[in-house]
C-alpha cells in the first residue's frame, strides 16, 4: 500500500475464497457424501437420471446467465416454456404436424424474447417488473387457449425424440451439454460476450464508449426466450403430453442456480461453465439424494428454499466486500 504500487488487493483471503468457491466445494462434498450414504448414487443409471432431469434447467439457466450478466432479469422463462408449447398444442388441434409444432414453439420463444427486449431497452421498463408482467400474461394466454391447461396427448414424435440415444446416452442430454459449452464459448470468446460483461459492469460507461447496448440486450433476451422454448419442447418430449405444469417455478430456479455458480445479480461477472452448470447439478443432487434416502417429498421445497437463501446471502456478501 504505497504510492507506487499498481495493484491493490491481491492478497489471498480465505473468506473471499469460500465466498467464490463455496458452492463448488459444497458440490464436491455432496457428491462424496451422497456416494457414501447411498450405494445406488454413483451408478450410471442414477447419474443419467440426474442429468436427464437437469437438461431443461441447464439450457434455460445458460440463457439466463447471459441476461443476469448484462445486469438484467428474465422472470418470464417458466411461463414462456408453458405458453410456447400451449400455442403449439393449439396449432395441433387445428391440424398442425410435429415439425410445424417445433417451429411454432421456438418461434414463440424468440418472439416473446424480442418483446421482453423491447420492453426493457426501448420502453426502459425495469427488467424484473417487465418480465414478471410478461410471466403472468403468458400464463394467462396458455390457460385460455388450452382450456385451463388440460392434459393433451401429443404426436408420437415427441416421445421418440426423448428416447433417441447415441452411445447409450439420451440425445437430449448431449444436446443440452453441447449448448452449454457453445454458450460458454460465446460468453468468453466472442465480441458479443465481451459486450455482455461490459454492459453488466457499467451501462453508463458502455453507453459513453458507444457500445451497441440495445442490440446486445435484445439479443440476450431473444436468446433467453429461445432457451425457454427449448424447455417447453424438451418437457413435451419427456412426458409425451402437454400439461399446465410445464416450466413451473423455473424462473426462480434459474436465478438461484446462476447465483450458486457465482454469477453476480448486479451484473458483470459470472460464467456458464462450470458456474451455472454446477449450480444446476447441485440443485438436482439435493433432489436426488432426498429421493434416494426416502425423505418425505415435502421436504424438497423446504431444502430448496434454504439453498436459495444461502445463494442470495453469499451473493450479497460478495457484493458488499467488493464495495468496501
Amino acid at each position: 500500500m504505497n504510492d507506487t504500487t499498481i495493484t491493490v488487493r491481491r492478497k489471498f483471503d480465505l473468506t473471499n475464497f469460500f465466498l467464490s468457491y463455496g458452492f463448488y466445494i459444497l458440490f464436491a462434498v455432496m457428491f462424496v457424501v451422497c456416494g457414501i450414504i447411498s450405494p445406488f448414487f454413483l451408478t450410471k443409471d442414477n447419474l443419467m437420471q440426474i442429468m436427464w432431469g437437469a437438461t431443461t434447467l441447464l439450457v434455460v439457466a445458460a440463457g439466463g446467465t447471459f441476461v443476469i450478466i448484462t445486469g438484467n432479469m428474465d422472470m418470464s422463462v417458466g411461463s414462456l416454456a408453458l405458453c410456447s408449447s400451449a400455442i403449439a398444442v393449439y396449432a395441433m388441434n387445428h391440424g398442425a404436424e410435429f415439425s410445424h409444432m417445433v417451429i411454432i414453439i421456438f418461434a414463440v420463444g424468440a418472439a416473446v424474447g424480442a418483446v421482453n427486449g423491447i420492453l426493457v431497452t426501448y420502453c426502459k421498463l425495469n427488467s424484473m417488473l417487465a418480465t414478471l408482467g410478461m410471466m403472468t400474461l403468458l400464463r394467462g394466454i396458455a390457460l385460455n387457449i388450452t382450456n385451463g391447461g388440460a392434459q393433451t396427448t401429443l404426436p408420437d414424435e415427441f416421445r421418440m425424440a426423448a428416447d433417441f440415444k447415441i452411445g447409450g446416452i439420451a440425445v437430449l442430454i448431449i444436446v443440452s451439454l453441447l449448448i452449454l459449452i457453445l454458450f460458454q464459448c460465446i460468453l468468453r470468446k466472442t465480441r458479443f460476450g465481451a459486450y455482455c460483461y461490459a454492459i453488466g459492469c457499467s451501462e453508463e460507461s458502455a453507453k459513453r464508449i458507444g457500445l451497441p447496448i440495445r442490440k446486445v440486450k435484445m439479443a440476450v433476451y431473444i436468446l433467453s426466450g429461445i432457451c425457454a422454448a427449448f424447455v417447453g419442447f424438451v418437457t413435451c418430449c419427456k412426458v409425451g403430453t402437454y400439461s399446465g405444469t410445464i416450466g413451473n417455478e423455473m424462473e426462480f430456479d434459474v436465478v438461484t442456480v446462476c447465483v450458486m455458480g457465482g454469477t453476480s445479480l448486479l451484473g458483470g461477472r459470472g460464467n456458464i461453465f462450470p458456474g451455472t452448470f454446477i449450480g444446476v447439478v447441485l440443485l438436482y443432487l439435493i433432489n436426488n439424494i432426498l429421493a434416494l434416502t426416502g425423505a418425505s417429498p415435502y421436504i424438497y421445497p423446504f431444502a430448496k428454499g434454504l439453498v436459495i437463501f444461502a445463494a442470495m446471502y453469499v451473493d450479497a456478501l460478495k457484493n458488499y466486500r467488493r464495495r468496501t
Partner: protein, 502 residues
C-alpha cells in the same frame, strides 16, 4: 486543427453554452477553465458526441463533422477521458483497452484475447506504464492505472483529439507527474489536447493556450506563456481574488471533544492515537494509500477494527467511550466520493441539503415535513456556497461536478454537528468557491466546531489546519503545529521516513 464555432446549448432553465467558439491546434495543449457550472463539461460532451448542440458547428481540419453518438466522435478521432472514469471493473485491462474494437481471431466469430493483451502491453509501454499487467482485472488496479488504461484506449482507437476532464482530482502526486509526462508525449506526437482543470498551477505548468468560460459565455482566450497565476484567477472568477485571510491563531480551547486511542485495523492502521480539541481544525496528511480515509472510517465504526477505542465529549463535558456506530449520529462526514456515498443523485437539492438534519424540518408531534422551511434554508445555502443551479428543486444528478460537491458540503454544514469530518471537501470545486468554503470552515471552527480534515492538496492543508498529523503506512509518525505547517515541510514529511517502499 479543431474548431467549434458559435456553439449554443440550452437545458431547461439554463443556457449552459452561449455562442462559444473554441480553436485547438495540433501539438498544443488547450486549457479549458472556468468556475463550476460554467459549461466546460457540457462543451466537451458535445465534442464527444454525448450531447448535441442546439446551434453551431464543429470543424476538424476544415471539414464539417456532425456527431450524434460517442461512436461518431470515435470515428472522427476524438477521445474523452471523463471526470468520473469509465471502465469495466471485472474485465481485464486488455479488454478495457480494446473494448471498442476487439481483435478478430482466425477462427470465425471469435476474438483474439492474446493479441489484445500483446497490443495493450504495447500501448501501455508507449505511455511509460509498463508496470500495468494487461491481464489483471480493472478492479484490482489503482485509480491512476485505470486512467492510464483509459488513455491507452483512446490511443488504441487512433484518437487525434484527446479531452481530459479534471483528470488529476483523484490521483496521487506520483501518478499526476506520470500523467503529465504522458500528456507532453502525446503533444509531441502532434495530438490535439484539451485539458480541463481547476488547478491553475497545472495550467501554467502544462498548457499552451487557454479558453475561459463564464456562465456559458467565452470570457477570455489566449496564450498561457507569460501569464501569472493571479491573472488566471482573475479571469476565472471575474474579479481580483481577495487576499487570503490569515487564520486567527492561538485561541484554541483546551477541551478535547474526540479522542482516538490505539486503533488497529488489519495492516491498514497500526496503533493510531490522536485527540481533537474543541474548535480545532486538525489535518490528517499523508500520501494516497497511507490510510487516511480508512482511519476516519474506522473511527466512525464504518469498517471493522481489531482493537482500539474512541471517546467523545458528552453533554456533561466528560469523555465517554463510544459504542460501535453511534458516532455517525453526532458528527458530519463529507465523504471522499460524491457519487458513491455523498449524494442522493436522484433527489433534488433541497432534499439533499436537509437530509442530514431532517428532524429540524419536521412538525413536533406527527413528524410531517415542513417543505417551506426546507426550501428557505436551502436557498440560503445555495447563496452561501455559490451553488449554480436553476432552482432549488433541480435533481442533484443534473448539476456540474463541482456544484455537486458543494451540495455535499452544504448537507453536512446544515447539520450543524459539533464535529465535522471532511474527506477531500473541495474536490472539483473552482478557485473562487474554494476560498468561500475555506472561509466558512474557518468561521464554524471559530464558533467552536471541530474539524477533521483530509486533503491531497498541500495548499488546502496549509491554509486551514491548526495542527497536522502525518500518517504513513497506517501509523502517525509526526504532528506539526503553527509555523511548521508549510508547503515544503508537509511534502518533505509525507515522502521522507524511508518506509515508503515495500
Amino acid at each position: 486543427m479543431l474548431e467549434m464555432n458559435n456553439i449554443t446549448k440550452k437545458f431547461p432553465g439554463v443556457r449552459a453554452l452561449d455562442n462559444v467558439t473554441l480553436k485547438a491546434e495540433p501539438g498544443k495543449v488547450l486549457a479549458l477553465i472556468g468556475v463550476n457550472g460554467a459549461g466546460k463539461s457540457t462543451l466537451m460532451n458535445i465534442l464527444g458526441g454525448i450531447l448535441k448542440q442546439d446551434e453551431g458547428e464543429i470543424l476538424i481540419n476544415e471539414k464539417k463533422v456532425t456527431m450524434n453518438s460517442p461512436k461518431d466522435a470515435e470515428k472522427n478521432g476524438i477521445a474523452f477521458i471523463h471526470q468520473e472514469p469509465l471502465f469495466f471493473s471485472s474485465m481485464s485491462v486488455a479488454q478495457n483497452v480494446f473494448i471498442g474494437n476487439l481483435f478478430k481471431s482466425n477462427f470465425p466469430f471469435l476474438t483474439d484475447n492474446k493479441k489484445a493483451e500483446r497490443e495493450a502491453k504495447k500501448y501501455l509501454r508507449l505511455l511509460g506504464a509498463d508496470d500495468i499487467d494487461p491481464h489483471s482485472a480493472m478492479e484490482e488496479i489503482t485509480i491512476g492505472a485505470r486512467q492510464m488504461t483509459e488513455i491507452a484506449r483512446s490511443l488504441a482507437m487512433g484518437a487525434n483529439i484527446i479531452i481530459f476532464d479534471e483528470p488529476t482530482s483523484s490521483l496521487s502526486l506520483h501518478e499526476k507527474n506520470k500523467l503529465f509526462d504522458v500528456i507532453r508525449k502525446l503533444k509531441q506526437e502532434g495530438k490535439i489536447i484539451i485539458y480541463i482543470s481547476h488547478f491553475l498551477d497545472e495550467i501554467t505548468e502544462l498548457c499552451d493556450d487557454y479558453l475561459v468560460l463564464r456562465d456559458g459565455k467565452m470570457s477570455g482566450a489566449g496564450v498561457v506563456e507569460g501569464l501569472h497565476k493571479e491573472d488566471l484567477v482573475t479571469m476565472v472568477i471575474g474579479q481580483k481574488p481577495s487576499a487570503a485571510e490569515k487564520k486567527a491563531a492561538g485561541n484554541l480551547s483546551e477541551e478535547t471533544i474526540l479522542k482516538v486511542s490505539h486503533i488497529v485495523s488489519g495492516n491498514l492502521l497500526q496503533d493510531v492515537n490522536f485527540e481533537l480539541r474543541k474548535g480545532e481544525i486538525l489535518g490528517i496528511w499523508g500520501l494516497m494509500g497511507s490510510g487516511r480515509t480508512e482511519l476516519v472510517r474506522a473511527v466512525l465504526g464504518l469498517d471493522r477494527i481489531d482493537a482500539g477505542e474512541v471517546f467523545f465529549m458528552d453533554k456533561d463535558k466528560s469523555l465517554k467511550k463510544i459504542k460501535k456506530n453511534t458516532l455517525l449520529k453526532k458528527v458530519g462526514y463529507v465523504t471522499e466520493s460524491r457519487h458513491y456515498d455523498g449524494l442522493f443523485l436522484n433527489m433534488d437539492i433541497t432534499n439533499n441539503c436537509t437530509a442530514a438534519k431532517l428532524d429540524n424540518y419536521c412538525t413536533r408531534r406527527m413528524k410531517f415535513i415542513r417543505a417551506d422551511k426546507e426550501v428557505q434554508d436551502t436557498k440560503k445555502l445555495i447563496q452561501k456556497l455559490n451553488i449554480k443551479v436553476p432552482d432549488e428543486k433541480t435533481p442533484a444528478s443534473l448539476l456540474s461536478g463541482g456544484n455537486q460537491q458543494k451540495v455535499v458540503f452544504a448537507k453536512w454544514l446544515n447539520k450543524g454537528a459539533p464535529v465535522l469530518i471532511l474527506d477531500e471537501p473541495t474536490r472539483g470545486v473552482d478557485v473562487g468557491s474554494k476560498m468561500e468554503i475555506y472561509k466558512i470552515i474557518r468561521k464554524i471552527a471559530a464558533e467552536g466546531t471541530s474539524v477533521l480534515l483530509i486533503s491531497s492538496e498541500v495548499d488546502e492543508m496549509v491554509d486551514l489546519s491548526d495542527r497536522v498529523i502525518i500518517l504513513k503506512r497506517g501509523r502517525i509518525t509526526e504532528s506539526v503545529e503553527g509555523r511548521d505547517i508549510s508547503n515544503s515541510n508537509l511534502m518533505k514529511l509525507a515522502l521522507s521516513g524511508g518506509d515508503t517502499h515495500e
